[in-house]
Amino acid sequence: MNTTDYTKFDFEDFAQDEYFRKWVIDRDVQAENFWTTWLFENPMFVDKVQLAKAFLYALEEKDTSLDKASLEMITDEVAGQSIQLKPFWQRTFWRVAASILFFLALGWWYQVSSNFTVPKKQLETAPVFSNSNNDFIEKRNLDTIIQKIILADGTTVTLYPFSILRYPKEFESTKREVYLAGKAFFDVMKNVKKPFWVYTDHISTQVLGTSFLVNSMKNKNVSVEVKTGKVSVYTRKDQERAKQNLYKESVGVVLTPNQKVDYSTQEERLLKSIVEQPVALINLPITDFIFDEEPVSEAFSLLERMYGITVIFDNKAMENCYLTANLSDESLFKKLDLICKITHSTYEKTDAQIIIHSEGCLK
């Protein structure tokens, strides 16, 4: 209970009182209720209170306050820019890119129709958590609806039906590791010092971004798809070898937006490629897509920026290629088809990149 004797207060005391400020500056509802009641009971203080309030408002001039959600977004942006300070004027791009969301789609089809059996073997290959008391939790979603789980670090996991998640009660001090069989959506609390790992039977995925969907179904091939953000994928085998030989270099595959990796169980290797339907990562004004006798290299650089996929072409060979087209509609591949048709060239997809073959254009 607020026991302060406000009846001895003068105007400047009000202005400096913490609970008064909570009302006026923080616009706190509870505080407002208190003060409204208090004023009702002490009407002779209306003048002083009003003046103190007016004084603070006059100093404030304008309420530029952001709401809680905006402040949380700012926190994410600040935390995401820990590596290098971006020049002041290049900020917009990062604002757009801030909502990091990426997909992992790991293969393995579960025969949902058949009886759901817990893949015991898979879970047994889970890493031994070095937590001495072996304190981990296993959540099995045998229901038909999704289940929400909040981990110790604040990460939320949406566990889909017929999936299992195993995680320690407390994460280790150096990394966060969970084991998944099935499908789950992860909204990972970023923590550079404690990387987040998702292990599945054959591959391990290290999370370098914030949220992603792991969709592991029982199938011959496992695949990881990234929409936005960044993850690195390792085969469990390579990881083991790397540990033994203490490789300096990482053996993983880093995936950026619109890239995916397939794991072939037979060959035991990872194959990187472009997702089937790349999505635009940034919103560009429609005028950017209209080309009027412009060098084709500009179109390629537009596509690179838009989809985050590298386009390799021979600048020299194509220096006389100019483009007049509207590329605003259609998918990445439709756009490429159109460009290639106009410039008499072809393209191929190799290692998640686009390579343009051209014999050049006439002057």
């Binding site: 609970y19 530029t64 809680k68 700012i74 300070l85």
Partner: protein, 203 residues
């Protein structure tokens, strides 16, 4: 009824330490606590919300980027305010330079703009009127007095902290405060009397 512990220095220092150790939770708490206050301060120098927001955000980015080597200030609130002050003024100079204006026209001193009359927020008419009057009074004060008043009352800082931020000594802060208050006190009784009549009807 719970009271906010915003001035609890132990809590604050702890939060700062956690942030230094890479806790995003602590970073979030600092942002939640100070971002709006810092924006308001920055807005005193440049009346451009987006610009000020970027400046404040930059200050936090710089802190987060250098968190491992950054010092632990005595007063986090004062430290943040002075960082924002520097940032806003520096960016403003840069902006003007970009506009190819003569650099000499940029005042070296803190260019605290006049208190404007944006009272959209304040719905109650009497309060509105009173705020307008107070604002007029404030605008009659010299810039430095105005800033001292603002830091003392709106940001609730101690004299020593204000001295640090403004780069003046503590005695000057006291002098400014005293002068501002004298000036003010002579007039606010009038405001009360003037508005007081009005209040009787509106309450």
């Amino acid at each position: 009824m719970s009271f906010s512990t915003s001035s609890n220095p132990v809590n604050e220092t702890h939060l700062w330490q956690q942030m230094k150790q890479g806790s995003e939770l602590a970073l979030g708490k600092l942002i939640k606590k100070y971002f709006n206050l810092l924006q308001n301060y920055g807005f005193k120098f440049v009346k451009d919300e987006a610009f000020v927001k970027d400046c404040v955000q930059d200050v936090f980015i710089a802190i987060w980027t250098h968190r491992e080597t950054i010092m632990s200030p005595q007063s986090i609130h004062a430290y943040l305010l002075s960082s924002v002050r520097r940032k806003v003024l520096r960016e403003k100079v840069r902006q003007r330079l970009d506009q190819k204006q003569n650099a000499n026209t940029v005042e070296k001193e803190a260019d605290l703009l006049d208190f404007s009359h944006e009272w959209l927020l304040i719905e109650q008419e009497s309060l509105n009127e009173m705020t307008r009057k107070v604002s007029e009074l404030l605008n009659e004060l010299p810039k430095r007095q105005r800033e001292v008043l603002y830091l003392r009352f709106y940001q609730n800082l101690e004299r020593a902290e204000i001295a640090d931020i403004m780069g003046i000594n503590e005695q000057s802060v006291s002098n400014h405060l005293q002068a501002a208050f004298k000036n003010f006190k002579d007039n606010w009784r009038q405001i009360i009397i003037c508005i007081g009549l009005f209040l009787k009807f509106s309450f």
